[in-house]
């Protein structure tokens, strides 16, 4: 693996304990990443439906933004979250969830990122996030 972006992503997925706790994975096509969250029982927030916990969806969206920034700027330390706004659009059902992040603005210190998560169809998102992230220093 000689692509620094793919190496960075693999290192993140391997080394961040909370990514393993969620069971999150990611595929990379060039610089575009698709994050994948397979359904797991411990992610459920409503046993009646059952549905994913809203916090889990928010966490998955935020981690997708962080990983996408890591892929975009592989030579920097991990970004820190400044703020996020999470919109809940549909219940997250007991199936695999996908997410893609768009880096709307990459400044010198701060990035603005939009993320959308979906299940069966990308056109029917289950949740969306807009956030600002403080970029890490170069390593």
């Amino acid at each position: 693996m000689s692509d620094p972006r793919a190496e960075r992503l693999a290192a993140l997925i391997d080394s961040v304990p909370y990514i393993r706790f969620l069971g999150m994975r990611a595929d990379l096509a060039g610089d575009e990443m698709t994050a994948i969250l397979p359904f797991a029982e411990h992610l459920v927030g409503n046993t009646l439906m059952p549905a994913l916990h809203g916090g889990v969806l928010g966490a998955f969206l935020e981690m997708t933004a962080i990983c996408q920034l890591g892929v975009r700027e592989p030579q920097r330390r991990l970004p820190r979250t400044i703020d996020v706004t999470i919109e809940y659009l549909r219940p997250g059902r007991a199936r695999t969830t996908f997410a893609r992040a768009e880096v709307v603005k990459l400044g010198r210190r701060v990035a603005n990122v939009h993320v959308e998560a979906w299940q069966e169809a990308r056109a029917s998102p289950v949740a969306a996030l807009r956030g600002h992230f403080m970029l890490g220093p170069a390593t």
Partner: protein
């Protein structure tokens, strides 16, 4: 999304149930600290498997998001219960500002206040802190949808 409480439920029972009854809140180890109508506090201990940055040992922001979403839900449900309403609630939106990193090794508390309960929507403010409530890790503002009982599928 929280399930509708049944009519005989007390506030303390609602709080204890919400802290541990969902698989995700149990996996994160949420526990009830206190609950009164519209005001709820929950806590969770530091766990190495929840770290978001292995270089600093700081818990992932997403964990704080989940704690705040959960305790906001309890603040709404407790206010509904105290007013004799037995309905389900769902998060519409959640805005979180992260002030600083949580101290590695320290428990995190989340405190939420449902300051406005309308017919369809509830508004909540919340904060997460570790050592000092005046020096929060994160603050949150949320809107919850109150789902009419007749809309709940059997």
């Amino acid at each position: 999304m929280a399930e509708p409480p049944e009519q005989s439920l007390t506030l303390a029972e609602l709080g204890a149930r919400m802290a541990q009854s969902t698989p995700q809140s149990a996996a994160l180890g949420f526990r009830l600290v206190s609950v009164e109508p519209g005001l709820a506090t929950m806590a969770m201990d530091y766990k190495p498997e929840l770290v978001g940055d292995p270089e600093t040992g700081v818990v992932a922001g997403g964990v704080v998001t989940t704690l705040l979403d959960h305790v906001c839900g309890l603040a709404v449900s407790s206010r509904l219960l105290s007013e004799g309403q037995f309905t389900r609630v769902a998060t519409l939106d959640l805005r979180i500002d992260y002030m600083r990193a949580a101290e590695p090794g320290k428990a995190i508390l989340g405190r939420a206040h449902c300051y406005k309960l309308g017919h369809a929507i509830a508004f909540v403010r919340a904060a997460a802190f570790d050592v000092d409530e005046e020096d929060p890790v994160a603050t949150a503002q949320a809107a919850f949808s109150i789902i009419p009982t007749e809309a709940i599928a059997p």
